[in-house]
């Protein structure tokens, strides 16, 4: 386990509990793909001040190459979390935490517009 944690992840996944939220978020937010929805969830987590950490049992869903083909995601996470040595592990954690934040149960869809438009201008 320690060995695993020393190297950054090559794949990113969501927990089985978050799969449902991801699907709902993708549909409610009219995202072209679940990857985009997951990035949105990640941003929401960052914006909500979620602390660093790791998510266990996320499984494998995407290769990091698909999630971050131009490396921008990694660069941004590194910029926002200086000294982070395993940015993709953090990305995965933030995505899952964001999805958890979006979870309103079965009945209500994730409040995409509310989150999006609560965005303050700098």
């Amino acid at each position: 386990m320690a060995a695993e944690k020393t190297a950054d992840k090559k794949t990113i996944g969501v927990t089985s509990a978050n799969e449902r939220v991801l699907a709902a978020l993708a549909s409610e937010g009219l995202f072209a793909s679940e990857i985009e929805a997951a990035k949105f969830a990640m941003a929401h987590a960052i914006d909500s001040g979620v602390a660093r950490g790791t998510t266990e049992g996320a499984g494998t869903k995407w290769n990091v190459g698909s999630v971050d083909s131009d490396g921008a995601l990694k660069a941004v996470v590194e910029a926002l979390f200086p000294d982070e040595t395993q940015p993709y592990r953090l990305v995965e954690h933030l995505m899952n935490e964001g999805l958890r934040l979006f979870d309103k149960g079965d009945t209500l869809p994730p409040d995409v517009a509310g989150v999006l438009f609560a965005t303050k201008a700098e």
Binding site: L30, F31, A32, D47, A72, A75, A79, V115, L116
Partner: protein, 651 residues
């Protein structure tokens, strides 16, 4: 000259038991005042029933006899109603009695078809035989022109429609107008002469066939005559069919008008459904656009964090940059690559070089390279941050989403409205209306097809006429015996036909001018607009208002149209061959007080005997008396006894 002496009613509509009124001998107006539901229209219908055995309700629909028996009387056991009309016509006294009772064998009548309406006509106290009675009645007041004598707001509405010239009622009303004006004698003569001419031509052909010299032409002529007969009967049949179809079209239009509200609801629903479909399409497009725009939405969420990171990275970049630069300069000076200091431009002495070298080992080669790597990393992240910031456009996203929400709300509102309309539409009404529209379209198509057929037949008849004329001309050169006499008859018939044809046109023209002049006269008396100078008549007896400056008044208010329609009816009365009383039910429509007074003033000029049915609010008795003065002959009230019992009371 037809004049009403009295009308007796028994259990007719609201008029329970036996009731009657007399109309005075003197020329003038009799006014019946009655509130709504008291039986004004029933009184008008009493005349219709007596004369034609018909009772007409709203929308020109026949009223069931079953519903015309006074309700209270029926509850008390009455099973029949009766109307008796005493009139004078051409110096003779007539008494017309029409009774409606259940058909024999009907124990409990339940509907219109369970009744029969019989009448008998007495002249000078003697009952006329049935056939003669029918002829006399037809002579006294033909049903077709009764509309000019017994009329109401609906008739005026028909005229208003006529003014627009876009209804199928036009030709029908024109015919009725020509009938009342006395044109039928002429047109019947003309048509009968045409038939006589055809017969004469056929006899010429027959005579020609009897002679060796002319047989060939005779045969040709004979077959042309036969062809003409076939074509003519085709034409006749087609025109009859056309007439029936046009009547059907009018009936359907009537029906559709009555269901107008339903139709407008259906139209509205269809329109809304169309709008919803369009909105849904635009919503889909909008969603696609949003879908594209949502890809960088995540950076919009953390825009402040990104911006803050940019600031710290810029600082870091500057720090690293200056450290790297400083190290490079020192290194270069220590190695003696440069003679002078790049900052102060003074030559660096060997002592100074040694001092620098002494400083350098603490910042080894490795540390310098680490700084360089870090600088590159900072720059890479800075580039990524700036790229994300550039893409993050929360305002554009907000606009897209707001727009989408607005459209969704619109769809929701419209769908709710569609549901609301759906509740008001019964399944039947919708199907019926759809059926009516289908039927209407089909009738319109059939009419178009028949009209084409008629046109083609008319063309063939014209060609036939040309051939016949040619052969007649050749035959004329080969004159002989019997043919000579037939030809003289034919020529005379032909000349006579031409004479009547021209006379019909001339007379119709004169009539139109007379009606136009009279209608203008009445119009000037009725209108309260001094700038309206006259009316101009068209071929269908439609009328256009002409302004004082000679220009047409294209758009008219409902009130103005009502006045024009009244002017036309008055002018027709004035020019009718048949003179009689007029019975008018609520002729004021939406006219204002000024117009109402004027109409009342003009009434005595429209006919010798006028019966006016009004309610007091539309024509207060004081105003009627003031407008009519000495020409007001008597006043009656329709007084309520109960909801279903009205008494005629002289005031």
């Amino acid at each position: 000259m037809l004049r009403i002496k009295s009308l007796h009613l028994k259990d007719f509509g609201a008029f329970k038991g036996e009731q009657a009124f007399n109309l005075p001998d003197e020329e003038g107006v009799t006014v019946f005042y009655g509130e709504n539901m008291r039986g004004k229209t029933t009184l008008l219908n009493a005349f219709r029933f007596a004369l034609f055995g018909k009772i007409i309700g709203r929308g020109r629909r026949p009223v069931s006899f079953h519903d015309m028996i006074n309700w209270e009387a029926r509850a008390e056991g009455a099973r029949s109603f009766e109307v008796r009309l005493q009139i004078t016509h051409a110096g003779a006294e007539y008494r017309l009695t029409r009774t409606c009772r259940p058909k024999s064998g009907t124990d409990v009548p339940a509907g219109h078809d369970d009744y029969v309406a019989d009448y008998y006509l007495e002249r000078g106290g003697h009952i006329l035989p049935a056939q003669q009675a029918a002829l006399e009645l037809e002579r006294i007041l033909p049903e077709q022109i009764a509309r000019f004598f017994l009329f109401d707001g609906e008739l005026l509405q028909e005229y208003e429609d006529l003014l627009h010239g876009d209804t199928d009622m036009g030709p029908k009303i024109s015919q009725a107008i020509e009938r009342i004006l006395g044109l039928p004698t002429l047109t019947r003569s003309r048509d009968s002469l045409k038939a006589a001419l055809d017969r004469a031509e056929a006899r010429v052909a027959l005579a020609a066939q009897g002679d060796q010299k002319t047989r060939e032409f005779g045969n040709q002529l004979q077959s042309l005559v036969e062809e003409r007969e076939v074509l003519t009967s085709d034409l006749f049949r087609h025109e009859k069919d056309l007439e029936a179809l046009r009547a059907k079209k009018v009936a359907i239009e009537d029906d559709m008008r009555r269901r107008e509200r339903m139709a407008s609801l259906l139209d509205k629903r269809d329109r809304l459904a169309g709008e919803v479909a369009a909105l849904e399409e635009s919503v889909q497009k909008k969603k696609d656009a949003i879908s594209k725009a949502m890809a960088p939405a995540w950076s919009a969420l953390i825009r402040p964090q990104l911006a803050a990171a940019v600031t710290t990275h810029r600082t870091k970049e500057a720090e690293l940059q200056s450290a790297v630069t400083r190290a490079q300069v020192l290194h270069s000076l220590a190695e003696g690559h440069d003679e002078a200091c790049p900052t102060c431009l003074q030559v660096v002495s060997p002592e100074a070089q040694a001092k620098i070298r002494a400083l350098l080992p603490q910042q080894g080669q490795g540390s310098r390279e680490a700084d360089q790597r870090e600088l590159a990393g900072v720059r890479r992240r800075l580039d990524a941050l700036e790229a994300q910031l550039a893409e993050a456009n929360p305002e554009a996203l907000r606009l897209l989403w707001t727009d989408l929400e607005a459209r969704k709300r619109d769809i929701y509102a419209k769908t709710a409205e569609i549901e609301e309309i759906g509740k008001q539409l019964t399944g039947d009404a919708e199907d019926e209306l759809k059926g009516l529209r289908r039927e209407y379209d089909s009738v319109v198509r059939q009419i178009a097809a028949l009209e084409e057929g008629v046109k083609a037949t008319v063309g063939k008849l014209a060609a036939n006429a040309t051939y016949r004329e040619n052969i007649q001309k050749r035959l004329d050169k080969l004159a002989g015996g019997q043919m000579e006499a037939e030809r003289r008859r034919r020529d005379l018939a032909s000349r006579l036909h031409d004479l009547f044809k021209e006379s019909v046109d001339l007379y119709r023209d004169q009539l139109r001018h007379r009606v136009e002049a009279d209608a203008s006269k009445y119009f000037r008396k009725l209108t309260t607009e001094p700038d309206y100078a006259s009316l101009r008549i068209n071929d269908n007896y439609g009328l256009t208002i002409v302004h004082r400056d000679g220009s047409d008044i294209p758009v008219r208010s409902a009130g103005a149209e009502h006045v024009v329609a009244l002017s036309l009816v008055a002018a027709l009365q004035n020019n009718a061959q048949l003179r009689g009383p007029i019975v008018i039910d609520s002729p004021f429509g939406r006219l204002d007080g000024g117009h109402r007074s004027r109409i009342v003033e003009v009434l005595p000029e429209m006919a010798d005997q006028v019966v006016l049915l009004v309610y007091e609010e539309e024509l207060p008795p004081a105003r009627a008396r003031d407008a009519l003065k000495g020409r007001l002959r008597s006043e009656w009230s329709l007084e309520r006894q109960s909801a279903r019992h009205t008494e005629l009371v002289k005031r």
